[in-house]
């Protein structure tokens, strides 16, 4: 059943079980050619298992995996035109950098000299030409990371898999590499599938993100979509900081849902498919989309009392107690415009919402 498609990878109803433990429950997703796709989730969510199944290191218990429309399940790793950048790089310690990078080409039947020539070009691309005669142990962590990248790119795979490749680097280097990886992906035109547990990293780099938890894809979409329109509690809580409030939906009217929470506070936000009037659900309120004022600015401003201000460099976070309601957080940027909205502890204030700050969640 071969059919050519533009989907680089299709995972169709993939299930992975280890004995009685189910690591993946019926995952289906398609990744387009030339896409930077990220699998994001906490450890144990199944993201690495899925990646290893695409690479061929784990078999699929049920379902199939297709590369440009052709089933690859059952092929050993060395017969899949897919390469991997490993978490701890797995550079061959007994080979030079050049031979590491040329290894895949050599295995594909290229002559040693041809492999070395191409390896040299790829090393040039990651700016490591001057280290080609060294052994991996003589390189810094960041340099080893680039070698691992060059090694996986050298055979020009159809899909490149990256298994938390930046997790061992320090923050600054990680940020620089994020941008470099993104550029490299656009330059080479190779489909990247990136695995990470770092939501900021995922949002920075990816065209699309699949948020995973407990062996299932919770939400799939681009960075904005996932951040601004989280589908459920898990996604809203995992991505960024948020206030989760329990609310009751009173009525739905013209795409807007009117809700109330404890203490008689009322809130209106965009309606969501699957949540009707009378439902008791959670609402996510992004703290940076809220601002404080001494007087109500609109009819739905929430009355609260400042408990504590926490200085966190770029932002100032304020913890508030809602009248007859739960604890609450508001973030203001640490700029002259933002700090003007900071109030002393004990002050009575009003919490106001920017449009789109509130979002109803499916549990």
């Amino acid at each position: 059943m071969t059919r050519k498609t533009n989907d680089a990878i299709e995972v169709r109803n993939a299930v992975k079980r280890y004995g009685t433990f189910t690591a993946l429950k019926q995952v289906s997703l398609t990744i387009s050619d030339n896409e930077f796709f990220t699998l994001l989730g906490p450890s144990g969510c199944g993201k690495t298992t899925l990646l290893r199944m695409i690479a061929g290191f784990e078999d699929v218990t049920e379902g199939g995996i297709f590369l440009f429309g052709e089933e690859i399940e059952g092929l050993p790793p060395h017969k899949r035109p897919i390469n991997t950048v490993f978490q701890n790089y797995a550079l061959f310690p007994h080979m030079t950098v050049l031979d590491n990078v040329g290894f895949g080409l050599e295995m594909l039947g290229k002559s040693k000299s041809e492999a070395r020539k191409r390896a040299g070009e790829v090393l040039e691309m990651v700016q490591l030409s001057q280290f080609s005669a060294r052994k991996p142990s003589q390189l810094s962590g960041g340099q080893q990371q680039r070698v691992a990248l060059a090694r996986a790119l050298a055979p020009r795979p159809k899909v490149l898999l990256l298994d938390e490749p930046l997790s061992a680097l320090d923050l600054k280097l990680r940020k620089a590499m994020q941008i470099e990886l993104k550029h490299l992906q656009k330059e080479t035109g190779i489909t990247f599938i990136f695995v990470t547990h770092d939501q900021e990293e995922a949002l920075t780099m990816s065209d699309r993100v699949a948020v995973m938890s407990a062996g299932e894809v919770q939400q799939l979409g681009d960075a904005r979509e996932i951040y601004e329109r989280p589908r459920n509690m898990f996604v809203a809580d995992f991505i960024g900081e948020t206030n989760l409030l329990e609310v009751t939906v009173d009525q739905i009217d013209a795409g807007r849902a009117a809700c109330h929470l404890g203490g008689g506070h009322r809130l209106t936000c965009d309606a969501v498919d699957g949540i009707g009037a009378g439902a008791r659900v959670h609402m996510s309120l992004r703290p940076e989309r809220l601002f404080l004022s001494s007087a109500p600015t609109e009819s739905e401003s929430l009355k609260a009392r400042v408990r504590e201000n926490i200085f966190i460099g770029t932002d100032i976070s304020t913890i508030l107690d809602l009248d007859d309601g739960p604890e609450f957080r508001v973030r203001a940027s640490n700029s002259s415009r933002g700090t003007s909205r900071v109030f002393e502890p004990g002050t009575e204030v009003f919490v106001n919402m920017e449009r789109g700050a509130a979002r109803l969640l499916v549990d």
């Binding site: 290191f57 089933e71 059952g74 050993p76 790793p77």
Partner: protein, 269 residues
């Protein structure tokens, strides 16, 4: 497309070779064990189960020789293992708990020397040494030689154990007003016990099993079990020898198993 796990750790044939390896290792021992229960005086024919060769070892014409050889073997092994274990424990304490010092590497080298020098060379050297200082060969020369080459066998499990014990235990003891000696006897030694027992058992087996060195340094007419067996085997393998071998084999296996169980149980706690 057939679905099946491609496990790149598995190499076809390796399991078969491992099983072959075990067959090669165990089949000679098992065959001798089985034939030691053979009723026939001939070693080629099987005439049914019997304990007659075990009875022969204890009551037969050669029983006196075997009894004295067994007594010599066990007495020497007991004393040699005790002395070697004591020396090894003290040395390990100095080497692993005595800080860095000039003779440290050299001391370790000296202790492992009997493992590196070919046994036959040690045997020749020891024989010549006793001859040169005019020491009459007999039980005592065997014992002295055994103490020397048992030390590294006792040392290895003891030092392995000591490396696994954090120095902070003794430091804590001394912080709680124990003297150095008390820290050693009340804290380090009890923690070391499994390693010391393993070391003793290994030293005991090594002494019990030694043939080459014993053969060189023993006096005329003094025999241990291995030299007695060797002497008898030179005349051909007889069923009573297989019975003795089986008993000696049993002693070794029981002791090694004991040592293994001790170290394993200890790792769990």
């Amino acid at each position: 497309m057939a679905k099946g796990k491609y496990d790149l750790r598995v190499y076809p044939g390796f399991r078969a070779i491992t099983l072959l390896c075990l067959v090669i290792l165990y089949s000679p021992l098992i065959v001798v064990m089985v034939y030691s229960f053979n009723a026939s005086p001939s070693i080629t024919n099987w005439e049914g189960l019997s304990l007659r060769w075990y009875a022969d070892v204890f009551t037969g014409p050669e029983s006196a020789k075997f009894k004295s050889a067994a007594r010599n073997s066990f007495v020497i092994a007991l004393i040699a293992a005790t002395v070697a274990t004591t020396i090894a424990t003290l040395s390990a304490t100095a080497i692993l708990r005595g800080g860095k010092f000039r003779l440290r590497t050299l001391s370790f080298g000296l202790i492992s020397l009997p493992l590196m020098v070919p046994e036959i060379v040690t045997a020749v050297a020891t024989l010549i040494f006793f001859n040169a200082i005019g020491f009459d060969r007999g039980l005592l020369t065997i014992l002295l030689a055994h103490i020397a080459f048992c030390i590294p066998f006792a040392y290895l499990p003891i030092s392995a154990r000591m490396q696994g014990i954090e120095a902070t235990y003794e430091q804590a003891a001394m912080d709680l007003y124990a003297t150095r000696r008390q820290a050693f006897t009340r804290v380090l030694l009890p923690l070391m016990a499994p390693g010391i027992v393993s070391g003793f058992i290994l030293a005991f087996i090594v002494s019990l099993d030694d043939f080459i060195i014993t053969n060189f340094v023993k006096g005329a007419g003094v025999e241990t079990l291995p030299t007695a067996i060797f002497g008898a085997v030179k005349q051909g393998i007889k069923p009573n020898i297989m019975a003795i071998s089986t008993m000696l084999l049993g002693v070794s296996v029981v002791m090694v198993t004991l040592s293994w169980l001790i170290s394993r149980k200890d790792r769990k706690t």
